[in-house]
């Protein structure tokens, strides 16, 4: 082996195979056009090709592959939601994630850490207990634990009662995980491209040509393509695209900021979330502390970062981990999140006959990438949203039947 390795290293004739092909010319028409080349769009393309045998598919991406919110999330995967519909949906996603590296033949660096949602008030304890019971009822592993057990899982966490918001209890969700977000998108892209799906980067949709109740063509900056069906998966720009298609959405575009610290030796195994303190933290496989908080206080189409965000986040973070005061921040960024009134996504059919929607992913989109791709592919292939997506239909708002997940959104928004 050492000799082989030496030879491999010394002779520069080796070439890294290009696994995602360069952007081809646009064909005049496709069976399915997927707008948005992030994790969700690429996953849908992958499952369209693998499960439903539909490969005459184009994925159109305005920028570069997975460069939007797929690149800007904090990569947390969990299913400890509040409504049975939500728990069932996200649980399917966790199960798909657990086998995803094998399925794709691409290491997504899935790392099961356990997830602790801290409760600092009696009201929060009550919500955690509620979530634990709903989770258990749905076969998801969650339980309410108290400081003695929290200390065993996260010895570095400040459990002192002598702070502004003492930790009373936590919702412990052992399947909670993190993964390499880029790898998830790349794995799906490689798998889809290998089966004939075309991925068009730097291809911005500029208009949708509508005839009656159907979208017949998609106009882009590289030309117009006819389409059989269209899937919209453009978090952050959902309203702008829905405006082109001609229907309304219950979505506000709000920035969500996050940051990472300089790398440290591994000390923090579980993912720690505090709704009351508007803060969450996990340690990546590189050793960086990945930290985030609540969304910005008002809507904005921008990915700028603010000092206010970091001031409030760090003030709270230092209450949880006082020794981090000596640690420096390394990077900061923001994504544009689709916030919905009930903190659940909006997926499935639209008022148009051949146009399908994958939107409203707010601050909870990355964890749903596999299930959303799989189920949206099913929706596009069959023309009908499966039962598991029913609770998240667009028409739930005019029916006054929301799926309220605010109590289980990562932090109190």
């Amino acid at each position: 082996m050492p000799f082989g390795l030496l030879k491999y290293g010394l002779f520069p004739s080796r070439r890294v195979p290009r696994r995602i092909p360069p952007t081809p010319e646009l064909k005049p028409s496709y069976d399915v056009v997927i707008i948005g080349g992030g994790g969700h769009g690429l996953a849908a393309a992958y499952y369209l090709a693998t499960v439903h045998g539909i490969t005459n598919v184009a994925v159109l991406e305005k920028g570069y592959l997975a460069g939007g919110n797929t690149a800007r999330n904090t990569a947390i995967i969990r299913s400890n939601y509040l409504t049975p519909e939500g728990v069932r949906f996200y649980d399917e996603s966790v199960r798909l994630y657990q086998g995803l590296s094998n399925e794709l033949g691409f290491n997504i660096m899935y790392s099961e850490r356990g997830h602790l949602t801290l409760a600092h008030t009696d009201a929060a304890v009550r919500t955690m207990r509620w979530r634990a019971e709903v989770n258990k009822h749905c076969g998801v592993n969650s339980e309410l634990i108290f400081p003695n057990d929290i200390r065993k899982l996260a010895p570095s966490l400040n459990l002192s009662q002598d702070v502004r918001y003492p930790i009373l209890a936590a919702l412990h969700h052992p399947p909670g995980s993190i993964a390499r977000h880029d790898a998830v998108a790349w794995g799906y892209a490689i798998g889809a491209a290998r089966r004939g799906v075309e991925i068009h980067q730097q291809t911005e949709v500029t208009g949708l040509k509508r005839e009656g109740n159907r979208i017949v063509a998609v106009e882009t900056n590289r030309g117009t393509v006819a389409c059989g069906k269209v899937l919209q998966a453009v978090a952050g720009s959902s309203t702008r695209l829905a405006d082109m298609a001609g229907f309304r959405l219950p979505i506000k575009t709000v920035p969500l900021q996050a940051c990472v610290s300089q790398p440290l030796k591994p000390f923090l195994d579980p993912i720690i979330v505090s709704g009351s303190l508007h803060a969450y933290i996990s340690q990546s496989s590189r050793g960086e502390l990945v930290m985030g908080g609540s969304t910005d206080p008002y809507s904005l189409y921008s990915t700028r970062s603010t000092l206010e965000f970091k001031e409030t986040l760090m003030a709270h973070m230092l209450e949880l981990f006082p020794f981090l005061s000596e640690v420096r921040l390394l990077r900061q960024w923001a994504g544009m999140a689709d916030m919905t009134p009930d903190f659940s996504p909006v997926m499935g059919e639209t008022p148009l006959a051949n146009y399908y929607l994958d939107a409203g992913w707010g601050t909870w989109g990355f964890k749903a990438t596999p299930v959303c791709g799989k189920r949206m592919a099913e929706t596009v292939a069959t023309g009908k949203a499966p039962d598991i997506l029913h609770a998240f239909r667009l028409s739930r708002f005019e029916e006054f039947a929301q799926a309220g997940e605010r109590g289980a959104a990562s932090v109190g928004h």
């Binding site: 309203t239 979505i251 506000k252 921008s302 006054f400």
Partner: protein
């Protein structure tokens, strides 16, 4: 954007304000349909560009209207709601749905 000009209190830190959503016409309480109410309550114009919104200066509970650009993150103008809402709204019209 780090400050906002409150029509009552002058220039204040942005953290003293909360956004109350876009200024929109409410359906008629007497005749509005469920569909009109659902649209009013849940749907968003979510415009990329200049929007007109309700804002509140929380320390003084003063509600006013701000014009803001949602792309450049600039507040263009703020003014009291009385500049727009000049007449008192009559809510006493008959309501068949009861309380």
């Amino acid at each position: 954007m780090k400050t906002m000009t409150c029509p009552l209190n002058g220039v204040r830190n942005i953290s003293e304000f909360v956004c109350g959503g876009e200024v929109r016409a409410m359906p008629d309480p007497a005749s509005g349909t469920d569909a009109e109410w659902a649209d009013y309550v849940f749907m968003e114009n979510n415009k990329a560009g200049v929007v007109r919104e309700w804002w509140c200066h929380t320390p003084t509970s003063f509600w006013f209207i701000a014009e803001r650009d949602t792309v450049t993150d600039e507040v263009l103008r703020t003014y009291p709601a009385g500049d727009v809402f000049t007449a008192r709204r009559d809510f006493d019209a008959p309501n068949e749905g009861g309380a």
